[in-house]
């Protein structure tokens, strides 16, 4: 049986670990097992070894710092457990993770299901990126008529997304205050309630 890492030397070190609730076997030659730190149980990152060879090394190169700013999870924690601390860790360790994800999966961009709440905005973002690329191209090729059309479309999308952002916001304290004033006015004329003298009727 050949070593899973170099695939050339005979494997002499056999590891079995539970990953994701399933048994995983890794067979290594003497040289690779030393290099991967298998003999040193504290330094041995299993997820790294099994799931994307060299991933822990890559994540080490991450210059953004050692900890996730949101949850405080560290690279050392990730190395040890193969798990992340919170959603924000994906951005905090993005640089190191991207190589790992590429090794692990068939692509690096999600193309599957999107929660309904996010679907509209996501489509618009995609369209926006495409429109901006076309706009740039049109400008470069001096096709100004087309560029103008594209620019208008982009403005419309921007307005839409701005409007939606406002609508989806929680009513802010300011808005609530205004609403309660309007309510308390009742049938009284607004100007009166606010102490503005009523314009004198011309008799």
């Amino acid at each position: 049986m050949f070593c899973d890492v170099c695939k050339s030397k005979e494997a002499t070190v056999f590891l079995t670990q539970i990953v994701e609730g399933k048994m995983q076997k890794v067979n290594l030659c003497e040289g690779c097992s030393k290099e991967k730190g298998v003999n040193d149980p504290t330094g041995f990152a299993l997820a790294d070894l099994l799931l994307g060879l060299g991933a822990a090394q890559e994540i080490d190169k991450n210059p953004a710092g050692n900890r996730c700013p949101v949850c405080g999870f560290s690279q050392a924690d990730f190395k040890k457990t193969g798990r992340l601390g919170c959603s924000a860790c994906y951005d905090a360790f993005a640089e190191g993770l991207s190589g790992m994800l590429k090794n692990m999966h068939r692509g690096s961009i999600h193309t599957g299901k999107v929660p309904a709440k996010l679907r509209v905005g996501r489509l618009r973002n995609k369209e926006m990126t495409e429109l901006q690329a076309s706009l740039q191209k049109a400008v470069q090729e001096e096709q100004f008529e087309e560029a103008a059309t594209l620019r208008d479309r982009i403005r419309k999308l921007e307005e839409e997304s701005h409007a939606e952002a406002i609508l989806s916001q929680e009513p802010s304290a300011e808005v609530n205050r205004i609403a309660s004033i309007t309510q308390s006015l009742g049938t009284v004329e607004p100007a009166q309630a606010l102490g503005v003298p009523k314009p004198r009727k011309q008799s």
Partner: protein, 379 residues
């Protein structure tokens, strides 16, 4: 609803029918989801886990499809009860090891189950008999969409659904089929199949044990990758491979019948003999012998109305299931082995001996040729 009432019934995935259910025992799709802005369970503090648990549990219990359901915190279940759920594939071994801050919710037919605060905040699965991954995915996808109305899941514009382990990010989906492959094991082809499937981003694993040592010749075929393809693409690829394995298994059985019929009959006959008369049997030996009996039913050596008895024995002979009806707290391994043997004897008593004549072996085909020639001589 009480757990004892739920587990008194065999789950739909075992007792129900589905396409190709002789070889494909069950199809399962699991989705991993996390709540936006909350640390993953492994890193969260207890109070945070408890808050997530309450939020998700309420949302799950309010689903229309969960009107008749069982819902319990893991620290309110005994270790035996948790083990029973593991043996039925309703929760994972990891989840069973969790205590405070984790829970399980499932419907009465045991087709839907929810693990709250396993490795991710929520892992939900749908499971059904036979090969029907598309239907099972539709089921869990619907549930996921309903939950979206009340729960905000962590979702990344590029990476999709975010999970504690980067191996699940993207769709967060693990689709799998449990396959019974005694033909491929006997003809020593199973390792070749495992290796080639592993090269295309899918995985074949023994349900208990690895490769040819897989107990009961049961294997799980699943997707390994979750990012870069849609759910439908993943399931499409998986379906294709499962069909190929299915054909290889059918072929292997055909070839065994043609070339090694005596060995095959010998194995099935011995399995029947041992299981009918043993007074002590380990889980491993039982599963391996039951696999031959199961294949015997497929080949028509036993009446097909015995199928469910045999399939149930695969689950009923597992350690926790053996003990679930008993008042005693915990049996030793030896006591379990004799209890297991007694249970199998009792069930197989209802089953007639294998009908060797029913098998289209070389031997029987010679007999039929000679009898034809006799008839032609007479006429």
């Amino acid at each position: 609803m009480k757990l004892s009432r739920i587990i008194a019934n065999t789950g739909e995935w075992l007792s129900g029918a589905g396409p190709h259910d002789q070889i494909v025992v069950s199809s399962r799709v699991r989705l991993a989801r996390n709540l936006k802005g909350k640390p993953f369970p492994g890193w969260a503090k207890k109070a945070e886990r408890v808050a997530v648990l309450e939020e998700i549990r309420t949302a799950v219990e309010q689903l229309p499809e969960m009107e008749e359901s069982f819902s319990e915190k893991l620290d309110d279940l005994s270790s035996l009860e948790k083990q029973v759920l593991v043996e039925r594939h309703l929760i994972s071994r990891e989840h069973a090891a969790k205590g405070a801050g984790s829970a399980v919710v499932m419907n009465t037919s045991q087709t839907l189950s929810f693990m709250i605060n396993e490795e991710d905040h929520l892992r939900m699965q749908a499971i059904r008999a036979g090969l029907q991954l598309d239907q099972v995915f539709a089921m869990i996808n619907q549930t996921d969409s309903e939950l979206e109305d009340t729960l905000d899941f962590a979702f990344h514009n590029d990476l999709g659904y975010l999970t504690a382990c980067p191996t699940n990010v993207g769709t967060g989906m693990r689709a799998s089929a449990m396959m019974h492959l005694p033909g491929l094991v006997m003809s020593e082809q199973v390792n070749k199949i495992i290796n080639s499937v592993n090269k295309i981003g899918l995985a074949v694993r023994g349900l208990h044990g690895e490769g040819t040592e897989a107990m009961g010749n049961l294997f799980q075929v699943s997707n390994q990758t979750t990012l870069g393809e849609t759910e439908e693409e993943i399931i499409g690829r998986l379906n294709k491979v499962i069909f190929q394995i299915l054909e290889h298994e059918q072929n292997a059985r055909q070839i065994l019948l043609q070339q090694r019929a005596e060995t095959l009959l010998d194995q099935i006959g011995r399995a029947y003999g041992i299981l009918c008369h043993a007074h002590s049997i380990t889980s491993k030996e039982a599963l391996n012998l039951l696999s031959f009996i199961k294949m015997g039913v497929d080949l028509g050596l036993f009446p097909s109305n015995n199928r469910l008895h045999v399939d149930e024995l695969f689950i009923e002979t597992q350690p926790a299931h053996l003990q679930k009806g008993l008042q005693v707290t915990k049996l030793g391994a030896e006591e379990r082995d004799s209890l297991r043997a007694a249970l199998i004897r009792a069930k197989l008593k209802q089953m007639p001996e294998p009908e060797i004549g029913k098998i289209p072996t070389n031997g029987s085909s010679t007999t039929s040729t000679s009898s034809t020639s006799e008839t032609s001589e007479e006429s």
